[in-house]
């Protein structure tokens, strides 16, 4: 093997491999690896691809249910929505690339998740994104917000998928490490799902899509390391996205799948050709031989190492039914995309890479895939925190409190962000972003799907288990509030360095909470992604386990899409104890992160959610209560409807407490009576807390014009970062 660097300690370290991991490689292959082989091991064994620190805990998550057609392990999760239709979805992070190069990092994050969905035979029908940035005053924040939002829009808008929801938050803990979590969902026939397991010996392995360049070489390894000041040097590891090619690749793949030519298919994401080929072989119990000279190349003189590790975008690998080759080729010619047979499946357990007349890698495929190290990282449970002492801060004028919240970019209206996304392409969007879950129609059926993405990182930091539960519970409530029945969820677990027991403790705690909540609320985790090492110079992000969830509104269900009207009663469902620990009010008004996260009573969540769905016909508008409690929920509901609201109680804790399991309802007087009766029969706490109407917002004895608050709410985000 010529022209390849010698394997030195420095080279091994530069590949992110620990000395004991390298020893393991030597044991597996019984000789020194070639440079290309070292690259392949490093790609397969990095945290991003191998989940080596998280696997042990991910296994504990509930992933099954009668609605689940395919859980974690494939490109995305597959869930039954009836009538032989399935929704296929996943959320994935692109944090590190987005921090280094925000536009392309975010754009290719969207591209990657869309590919995960259409690889399985589904046409993407909705996208969301959950974004976490550093504090507004930080010198990098504005540039990151602009770049990330434009990148998401630039890719998704051109591809043609509506962005129907998401989150944007700011906290100093993300100053050196922003989070970009991208979600996509697609629709397929339940009996026409495509998987990645190869089958049949001697079957052609076909390369589809864009050509391979040097972009992204080593990207997955980069994404598995902490950042320091040398970060600028890592810019070349970020890939460049081409949504036009992705759009054609999707159309070509979906057309190809109709021909029956596809035996199995896998997109090339992290670690490109390496991961996709190994995955297909391993799942099918076969070996794979690749002849790299046949790989369509964008640049001259590319080495085997570069081709195997390139993360060039918009590429797929498939195993082809050879009798359909001509038809398959014609589809790709129609869409002006590369179609090249680059190898074949082989019977022996071997990953054989040929380039020129040389063997560049010859590794045991199953071992390469299955023997990635797995760590039981030491962890310490996050210590319990003392409850907030309510005597340590003064009562506030509630309107002043509301003003502070809605002037914060965390709680201000986000139209500056979502108006840069095409929220309506495909003409099936029923609810655009802005208030609660996004909803799209299932085309040509009476069904609709609702989407939401939620997490409250300050809760998770204070109490990982309750915080983990809360993320799931909030997703459950957001889906419920539009009348949808939650179906399943995907988790995007963003944490710091797992080698630190404190961080690992956050991870373990959050997983326990998420697991308990998805079990209780029947929202199994069907796909997901783990992003660790989100630290810069030793500073970890807030633990951020984003939960994205999908709900179904059947043809004969009653959706809740209305608005509050003059004269409507404001009904509060759920118990209010006035929990101000870790609240938005405490953080934004008093600049304090103290106390415990609000406890989540999963039984109450389920009972209250079922009550909302069962009585949807009485409800005009509904929203869940989360950050900012009743005060913010009532304001947002009123503001969206352009009508005032009067809340009777002016008590700070009653208004701004963040007790869980609660909803605010707007309905007529008659409906309110019916709802109170129904609630009484099922033991659901419910109370009238005020009414909608007029042109002011009043809380207790404090009052302000709706128009003034609305203007503040609508301009604050742009003033902060626009």
């Amino acid at each position: 093997m010529t022209d390849e660097p010698a394997i030195t300690e420095e080279l091994i370290e530069a590949h992110g491999l620990k000395p004991d991991e390298y020893q393991r490689i030597l044991e597996i292959i019984g000789r020194e690896p070639s440079f290309t082989e070292l690259g392949i091991f490093s790609a397969m064994w990095n945290e991003h691809c191998s989940y080596k620190s998280s696997k042990k805990w991910l296994r504990t998550l509930p992933t099954e249910g009668p609605q689940v057609i395919c859980g974690p392990g494939e490109n995305a999760g597959v869930v039954d929505i009836g009538d032989n239709q399935a929704v296929i979805f996943k959320m994935e992070s692109h944090n590190h690339p987005s921090y280094i190069e925000p536009y392309q990092g975010a754009a290719t994050g969207v591209g990657g998740i869309l590919r995960d969905v259409f690889t399985m035979g589904a046409r993407p029908i909705a996208a969301m994104n959950s974004l976490s940035f550093g504090e507004v005053g930080h010198p990098k924040t504005r540039q990151l917000v602009h770049g990330v939002v434009e990148g998401i829009g630039g890719y998704g808008n051109c591809f043609g998928v509506p962005t129907v929801g998401g989150e944007v938050r700011f906290d100093p803990a993300y100053n050196g490490n922003c989070l970009v979590n991208a979600f996509a969902a697609g629709l397929a026939d339940a009996d026409k799902i495509f998987y990645s397991a190869a089958s049949g010996v001697g079957m052609p392995v076909v390369y589809l899509g864009a050509k391979t360049g040097r972009d992204g070489v080593g990207g997955a390894t980069m994404a598995s390391a902490e950042f320091d000041e040398s970060i600028e040097e890592k810019r070349p590891t970020v890939q460049v996205g081409d949504p036009f090619t992705e759009k054609r690749l999707m159309e070509a793949c979906l057309e190809l799948m109709q021909t029956g030519a596809v035996i199995s298919i896998q997109d090339m994401g992290a670690a490109g050709l390496t991961c996709s080929a190994v995955e297909m072989g391993d799942k099918g119990g076969l070996g794979v031989k690749l002849q790299l000279d046949d790989v369509p190349q964008r640049e001259d003189n590319m080495t085997a190492y570069e081709m195997m590790l390139s993360e060039s975008q918009e590429r797929m690998l498939m195993v082809l039914d050879p009798s359909k080759e001509a038809e398959a080729r014609a589809v790709f010619e129609k869409w002006d995309l590369d179609f090249a047979i680059v190898g074949e499946t082989i019977p022996e357990d071997r990953f054989l890479i040929l380039h020129g007349n040389e063997v560049k890698a010859d590794l045991p495929l199953a071992t390469l895939s299955g023997s990635a190290p797995e760590y039981d990282r030491p962890w310490v449970a996050t210590p319990a925190v003392a409850p907030l002492d309510p005597t340590t801060f003064a009562a506030i004028d509630p309107i002043d409190g509301l003003r502070t919240l809605i002037a914060s970019p965390n709680y201000a209206a986000k139209q500056w962000v979502y108006e840069q996304y095409d929220t309506m392409v495909m003409a099936d969007t029923v609810r655009t972003p802005g208030l609660g879950a996004g909803v799209v129609r299932v085309h040509d059926t009476g069904k609709m799907l609702a989407f939401t993405s939620d997490v409250t990182p300050r809760y998770v930091k204070a109490n990982p288990t309750e915080g983990g539960k809360q993320a799931v519970a909030e997703a459950y409530r957001n889906l419920t509030a539009v009348g949808a029945t939650p179906l399943a969820s995907t988790d995007n677990l963003n944490f710091g360095n797992p080698e630190k027991p404190k961080i690992m403790g956050q991870f373990v705690g959050a997983i326990k909470g998420i697991g308990a909540a998805v079990a209780a609320l029947d929202m199994p985790i069907v796909s997901g992604n783990v992003s660790l090492y989100n630290e810069t110079d030793g500073q970890a992000i807030l633990p951020t386990p984003t939960i994205a969830a999908v709900g179904l509104i059947k043809a004969d269900d009653t959706p809740i899409f209305g608005q509050a009207r003059d004269g409507h009663v404001a009904l509060l469902v759920g118990d209010t104890l006035g929990h101000l620990g870790q609240s938005a009010l405490l953080a934004e008004v008093f600049n304090r992160a103290e106390g415990d996260a609000p406890p989540v009573d999963l039984e109450a969540e389920k009972r209250n959610g079922e009550f909302i769905r069962a009585n949807a016909g009485w409800i005009k508008a509904c929203t869940d209560l989360s950050d900012g409690g009743l005060a913010l929920a009532a304001f947002e509901m009123a503001e969206a409807a352009g009508v005032g609201v009067q809340l009777d109680d002016g008590d700070t804790a009653q208004l701004f407490g963040e007790d869980q399991g609660r909803y605010l309802i707007a309905c007529s007087f008659d409906a309110a009576e019916a709802l109170m009766t129904a609630a009484g029969q099922t033991g659901v706490p419910i109370a009238s807390v005020g009414k909608f109407g007029g042109d002011t917002v009043r809380m207790g004895s404090s009052e302000a014009p709706l128009a003034e608050l609305s203007a503040l709410f609508r301009r604050a985000f742009e003033e902060a970062v626009g």
Partner: protein, 222 residues
């Protein structure tokens, strides 16, 4: 009535437009951009929104040179109807079938939201379902919707009553708030807003429906 919807590789509102035509009662043929000819008997050609060739060059510039575009031009020259929405409007200006050009939005950002349009006093089959001066709410979704014509051309458009829609609150910097214009023979309409996204109650508004209904009615009478 027979509508043809042109599909470029980066079109992404082709289905949306086809659905709107179908709901108005048209038979719809999807026509691939590499085809040389339109199907026989096409009454109206729809050029949909999207990013025809990625829009890495000027939006619509490459689509204006696709094989099918020659046939679309012939169709229009023979007096056929053509409707270009968003990217379709950009294609129509690039082919010269409609005057002017679409520049990057004044704030340099992609913008997607519902906007109010004023229906101008413009005698065209596309507007028969509306009253002149009527204000309708239609979504926009574009990065390059900033319409430009020079002063002479603008005067001509005004004199000839060819401005179909104007923005009530100009979102993108367009000259004279122009959101859509028609050809001299009034049978070609280009507009940046998406009437096909406001054509059913589930869209949250149906102000776009009257355009498709009115057009089909007029074509049936013609």
């Amino acid at each position: 009535m027979h509508a043809a919807v042109i599909v470029f590789p980066g079109s992404n509102c082709d289905r949306d437009l086809a659905v709107a035509f179908e709901h108005a009662g048209a038979k719809v043929s999807m026509v691939w951009h590499k085809d040389a000819d339109l199907p026989d008997g096409v009454d109206v050609v729809g050029i949909p929104g999207g990013f025809s060739f990625g829009d890495y060059l000027r939006c619509g510039a490459i689509a204006a040179n696709s094989p099918i575009t020659r046939s679309v031009i012939n169709h229009v020259e023979r007096g056929g109807y053509a409707l270009g929405i968003c990217n379709g409007f950009q294609v129509l200006t690039e082919t010269g079938l409609l005057p002017g050009a679409l520049r990057r939005n004044a704030n340099l950002k992609f913008l997607c939201k519902s906007v109010d349009l004023r229906v101008e006093d413009c005698d065209t089959p596309y507007l028969k379902g509306y009253e002149p001066g009527q204000v309708i709410s239609i979504p926009i979704a574009h990065h390059d919707g900033n319409y430009f014509v020079d002063d002479d051309k603008l005067k001509q458009l005004r004199d000839e009553g060819r401005i179909a829609f104007t923005y009530v609150d100009n979102p993108n910097g367009s000259v004279a708030d122009i959101a859509g214009v028609v050809s001299r023979n009034r049978r070609v309409l280009g507009m940046m807003p998406h009437p096909e996204r406001a054509a059913e109650p589930a869209h949250g508004g149906t102000d776009g429906k009257a355009m498709f209904d009115g057009l089909l009615r007029e074509m049936a009478l013609a």
